[in-house]
């Protein structure tokens, strides 16, 4: 307290750090997360176990969705990167680890370059624009047109996604079976041209996934219809039926004083015996439903216990607490006759014989954590299939796209060297070095995917796809994605991957990669990534890196 008697307001001083990207603590944090994410990348990835607290169960996963849901992160840079990844996953559900890895790799390598930071970030932006423009262009070689009529291609895409999640712990036949079920389910949601209501627009059906613990994966199956939990109704009223009429209430049928049905205001005379009046009202209401031949009463919220008992006693199935999503799904099924099955004593299966817009995939696994991973894998695979439905374009997977784009960028930087030097007022060495850094970062993600040493990887001189070396020192028979075989590309020169930003001198020897060849058809077993999700992943990675590279100060308000 001072002389004037005023209480001073004590505010903590803000924490300010200069050049935060160069600080050891941030670099270590980037390195740690990059190592973690790099090991969770691709089909050869390794699982991670996360335990948030002593009371909570351990989570075993390699998927970015689960990883970032539970991974505790305090570093603000990493928080921002993870936030960007989460936003990407909200829509695309795929390529989360790719975004994280590429962003962190670029951030680490570019902030290490010994050039003025403004110049580095300007050059980074220029290269990002070139890279993204190439990926969007028609001459982009890795972009492949998929034939939606080819089941093999759809299976290939789906299997690729399932393979990238080792947490599923699947054998080959299990993987194939699950992929088949997923593709089948997906195809079932696409309505046929002949529908009963031709004047209405066509809508894609809903696909629900339920997973079980204990059982064989090969028993996973698809059901065209709606699968509901039996907790929603009492089992005694259940029996298999056909041609069921359903009435759906989206308001509460609990009828207590605070939760009125239909009218928004309820006034009643205090002398009136409300309870008995209501129960007789419910009986009257229930009688009306039975008289109309209603076989099932479904309620999004709660059904009054007296009403429920009355209806069940008269053989009407009552489902309550459906929730919004199930109610909407049921609403779409409404209006037709139903078949009712009881399944596995714990699920009720509703099926519309004529028009199934709801599909349920029952995925079975034998251990607890895999249930969650199954859900994620199924959602991811179907999401990619829907994206392909909108635009049937894919990108070569297994790192071939990244290697190809890296080579294209190298050649483009060399070709436009004078433009860059003039525009940015710097030397050729700076431009080439920074360009090489950018290309190396792309290749690093391919190296991380293959889980091999950089020494054992090569690119071909035609398309610059990624090839691994056999233990004998020869190049493998086919490239990483499987599109090209060694014999197809001969004669061919094999180039080793670069080591870093100072290796730009070797670029001059390499020929420019072949661009789009429309006559090149995609082989059925090629590893393909969904184009939309991967393109967005590139965008997000580069935009986030660009924003973070430009930071010179870190300011934290500690109040």
């Amino acid at each position: 307290m001072n002389n004037s008697g005023l209480h001073p307001t004590k505010l903590a001083e803000a924490k300010v750090e200069i050049e935060p990207l160069k600080l050891p603590k941030n670099r270590e944090a980037f390195g740690e997360l990059m190592k973690l994410v790099g090991s969770c990348f691709g089909p050869k990835s390794r699982l991670k176990c996360i335990q948030i607290s002593e009371e909570s169960p351990a989570i075993v996963t390699s998927t970015s969705m689960r990883l970032f849901q539970y991974l505790p992160v305090s570093n603000p840079y990493l928080k921002l990167v993870i936030q960007a990844v989460k936003e990407h996953l909200k829509i695309f559900k795929d390529s989360g680890t790719f975004v994280t890895y590429v962003t962190l790799n670029m951030l680490t390598n570019f902030s290490n370059l010994p050039f003025p930071p403004q110049l580095i970030s300007s050059l980074f932006d220029a290269f990002s624009i070139s890279c993204l423009e190439y990926l969007k262009s028609e001459t982009c070689h890795p972009k492949v047109q998929l034939d939606f009529d080819s089941l093999k291609q759809l299976m290939s895409v789906t299997q690729n996604i399932i393979s990238s999640k080792p947490g599923c712990s699947l054998q080959d036949d299990e993987r194939t079976h699950l992929a088949l079920q997923l593709v089948k389910s997906f195809l079932h949601t696409i309505p046929s041209p002949v529908v009963e209501r031709p004047s209405q627009p066509l809508h894609i059906g809903r696909l629900h996934f339920t997973s079980y613990e204990g059982g064989r994966v090969l028993d996973s199956v698809m059901y065209p219809g709606l699968l509901l939990s039996s907790k929603l109704c009492s089992l005694k009223s259940l029996k298999c039926r056909e041609r069921l009429q359903v009435i759906l209430f989206t308001v509460s049928l609990s009828w207590n004083k605070d939760d009125p049905f239909l009218p928004n205001h309820l006034e009643y005379c205090s002398t009136l015996e409300l309870k008995s009046h209501l129960s007789s009202w419910f009986e009257m209401f229930g009688r009306k439903l039975i008289d109309k031949g209603i076989g099932m009463v479904a309620c999004q919220k709660i059904v009054n216990i007296h009403l429920k008992k009355y209806l069940e006693d008269h053989g009407v199935i009552v489902l309550e607490k459906l929730g919004l999503e199930t109610a909407v799904a049921l609403k779409e099924l409404c209006g037709r006759f139903f078949r009712l099955f009881i399944l596995l004593t714990c699920k009720i299966f509703l099926n519309n014989q004529f028009f199934s817009s709801n599909i349920n995939l029952n995925a079975i696994t034998d251990y607890h954590n895999a249930c969650f991973i199954f859900q994620i894998v199924c959602q991811q695979a179907v999401n990619v299939l829907y994206q392909l439905l909108l635009k049937p374009v894919g990108l070569y997977g297994a790192g071939c796209t990244e290697c190809h784009v890296a080579s294209v960028l190298r050649k483009q930087v060399q070709k436009d060297l004078h433009i860059y030097t003039k525009r940015f007022g710097c030397s050729e060495a700076v431009v080439l070095s920074t360009g090489e850094c950018f290309s190396s970062c792309l290749e690093n993600s391919a190296v991380s995917l293959s889980k091999t040493s950089r020494l054992n990887l090569k690119t071909d001189s035609h398309f610059h796809h990624l090839w691994s070396e056999t233990p004998g020192g020869d190049v493998a028979n086919s490239c990483a994605c499987g599109q090209f075989t060694k014999t197809e590309l001969e004669p061919c020169i094999w180039y080793s991957l670069r080591w870093g930003e100072m290796d730009f001198v070797y670029v001059k020897d390499e020929p420019c990669p072949v661009l789009k060849n429309s006559q090149l058809s995609v082989k059925p077993s090629v590893i393909i990534d969904g184009c939309a999700s991967r393109l967005n992943a590139y965008h997000v990675a580069m935009e986030t890196t660009s924003a973070l590279l430009r930071t010179v100060l870190y300011i934290e308000d500690r109040n």
Binding site: E267, G425, E543
Partner: protein
């Protein structure tokens, strides 16, 4: 209580300046700011940095408030504000320490009073003149918002936006944002003469005309036609098809405390059959409402509250789309755009004033949420704008928020370029905000009139018939600067206009002189008629707004330094010489800083300083190159800035300096933070 010395303030502004210095210029860098609640933001905005840093000092609070006020008005210049303030206090401190004219007693009120008076004189008397001289510079571009000048207006706006946004984000983003902001403005403008009103409208309603999508990259941002309504519930629009032809719609806006809009009945249960009666009456109510709706061929109902399921079902059966849960503010904006009245309840009688016309309604998904895009048919022929909507995408919420706020600020930058907006501030006309156009005399500061004036043509009795007076009340320097243009525009083979100043200094009269031979007979009435015909179009243009811009990269600052240096000379005993010298030296800091934050920084600072001095001595028009940091001729400059915002910034900085020099002491001074980079 502790005394506040100039050195003390200098140390504080040095610290504040060090926070924003590295973010200055076209190649300035950003700061990663983490707020008290953990929100992460990457920004180069001076005010955001200051607010996060939250310098714990009352003087810092005063400075932050002044910066914030300036930012709210103009949308730009906060870093320049802080750095100029820093430079001025550095010079003031140096002067006080080194001066040999006054007793060397740092912090004495006499010295500060003297400095304050000189700075006040400079601010209120001398700067307006210098600004006028600057505006007369041939590099200053005046563009009237007239149809003939549309390409020039567009080019200038693009340059302004590019100059503003280049320093904020990398190239990956800047180009996209410039295009989006540019398109939003020019897609919305239907008549270029109303450019100012459209820009003001966009600024006022930007939060309703832009939505942020925190998932997609910026490349997927776009401008869509019409207006986009957000919805609050998850039942998808897919139940309803797009409507691509014209149709009628109504807007239901109930009062905020009335939650039920379609039911309206209060059920009194006295007997069991009352429930049945209620259900029957509700049903008939809906049916009668539906009749009225069908009568007026309404195909879309928009409501801010929930709508009962029964009514929705009834509408669905009749092919009428119902969208409920739309934010109230959006619906209010929509009705004001369309010029219709909303209805409170379906019981209301429908008429033409309550029915809007739409050209299309399309469901669109953004970030997996449903939105409705409506193309509005505006009822007024004399419409202000063509409605468009900006969909802004970014990879994270924090980054997208930055794009949003800088897009908003870019509109303010364009508004500040429009000259007449000097008088129109969000806080009303303030004498301090437009000091460049104020005249100060013994009666106090005169605020210029808002009205442009009217053209009053009259003939004076006893005047020779060749002379006709056109009274154009001109009350400020801005209009005075237009007179040269006015003379040229009104030039005619038979008539010439001469502009004469009256002794009052506030109004000028134009006298038309007939240059034809004296024996050409012409009646006064005919003369008057010809005069009106000739003057009226020119006068109409006189009333057009104009945009005044100058080359960027510190051209304006260097030109002002040149003017100041020509004027002051201590030897002649110029009373305000010290203040002018301090200001000139402070302004020099800006081009030097541009050199330091350039991309490649080719020359060293001493060389640049020398080159600038030489150019000023030779009165060459130069500026700084953002890439190399070298001095270049102004003809090579590709950036443009608003003149009015420059003038306003300088005036506001000087005003703050004067205010801080008045500070006597502070109660309970906390410890000053260290300047960044100091050991």
């Amino acid at each position: 209580m502790s005394e506040v010395t100039v050195n003390f303030i200098k140390h504080l502004v040095d610290y504040i300046g060090s926070l924003v210095e590295k973010s200055y210029g076209p190649y300035g860098r950003s700061s990663l700011c983490v707020s008290a609640v953990g929100q992460i933001e990457i920004t180069s905005s001076g005010i955001s940095i200051l607010e996060t840093a939250r310098v714990n000092h009352p003087v810092a609070t005063v400075i932050t408030r002044a910066v914030k006020n300036h930012h709210e008005l103009v949308g730009d210049g906060t870093k320049t504000f802080i750095l100029l303030l820093k430079a001025i206090f550095n010079e003031l401190s140096k002067y006080i320490t080194e001066s040999s004219y006054i007793p060397q007693k740092q912090g004495t009120m006499e010295i500060r009073t003297k400095l304050r008076l000189e700075l006040s004189n400079l601010l209120y008397f001398m700067l307006p003149e210098y600004f006028g001289q600057l505006r007369a510079n041939k590099m200053i571009q005046n563009i009237f918002f007239h149809e003939n000048n549309l390409p020039l207006v567009k080019s200038c706006v693009q340059n302004l936006l590019k100059t503003f946004l280049t320093g904020k984000f990398g190239q990956l983003v800047t180009h996209q944002l410039v295009e989006l902001c540019y398109n939003l403005i020019f897609f919305s403008v239907s008549d270029i003469s109303k450019f100012n009103e459209v820009v003001q409208y966009l600024i006022k309603n930007f939060h309703l005309l832009c939505c942020r999508i925190n998932v997609l990259p910026i490349q997927l941002s776009r401008i869509v036609e019409g207006f986009v309504l957000t919805r609050d519930f998850t039942v998808p629009w897919k139940d309803y098809t797009s409507k691509e032809e014209e149709f009628n719609f109504i807007v239901i806006l109930s009062s905020q405390d009335n939650q039920s809009i379609c039911n309206g009945a209060i059920l009194k249960i006295t007997q069991p059959q009352d429930i049945e009666m209620f259900l029957l009456s509700s049903s008939s109510f809906y049916k009668s409402a539906m009749k009225a709706i069908q009568q007026h061929q309404i195909q879309l109902i928009l409501s801010c509250n929930s709508v009962s399921e029964s009514f929705k079902t009834l509408c669905y059966e009749e092919g009428i789309a119902v969208i409920a849960g739309i934010p109230r503010e959006e619906l209010l904006h929509l009705v004001s755009l369309c010029g219709i009245q909303p209805i409170i309840c379906l019981q209301e009688t429908l008429n033409a004033s309550k029915i809007g016309k739409a050209q299309f309604a399309r469901p669109i998904t953004l970030e997996a949420k449903w939105y409705i895009q409506i193309g509005i048919k505006l009822s007024n022929l004399d419409t202000l704008l063509v409605p468009h909507y900006l969909v802004l995408c970014g990879p994270t919420e924090g980054i997208c928020k930055q794009y949003f706020s800088e897009s908003f600020n870019s509109l303010k930058v364009v508004a500040s370029w429009i000259d007449s907006n000097c008088y129109h501030t969000s806080h009303g006309v303030q004498p301090f905000s437009s000091t460049s156009f104020c005249q100060k005399d013994s009666s106090g500061i005169k605020v210029p009139s808002k009205s442009i004036g009217s053209c009053d043509i009259s003939t004076e009795i006893n005047m020779p018939k060749e002379n006709y007076k056109v009274n154009l009340p001109v009350s400020n320097v801005r209009q005075q600067s237009k007179l040269g243009w006015f003379e040229e525009t009104c030039m005619n083979e038979n008539w010439k206009i001469h502009v004469m100043s009256s002794s009052y200094g506030h109004s000028l009269h134009s006298t038309l002189r007939k240059s034809v031979t004296e024996d050409y007979p012409i009646s006064s009435k005919e003369c008057e008629y010809k005069l009106t015909k000739m003057v009226k179009p020119a006068f109409y243009l006189w009333n057009y707004d104009q945009g005044v811009s100058c080359p960027g990269s510190s051209f304006w600052e260097l030109t002002l330094i040149s003017l100041l240096r020509k004027s002051y000379n201590r030897a002649t005993g110029n009373k305000n010489a010290i203040a002018m010298e301090i200001l000139a030296s402070s302004l020099f800091y800006i081009p030097i800083l541009l050199h330091k934050t350039s991309l490649t920084n080719k020359q060293n600072t001493v060389q640049v300083y020398q080159e600038l001095e030489e150019s000023l001595q030779k009165s060459l028009q130069v500026c700084m190159d953002g890439v190399s940091g070298c001095v270049i001729s102004v003809e090579e400059c590709t950036t443009r800035e608003s003149v009015a915002s420059k003038e306003l910034l300088l005036c506001n900085v000087l005003k703050l300096v004067i205010q801080l020099l008045k500070l006597d002491g502070i109660v309970n001074i906390p410890k000053l933070p260290k300047v960044l980079g100091e050991d």
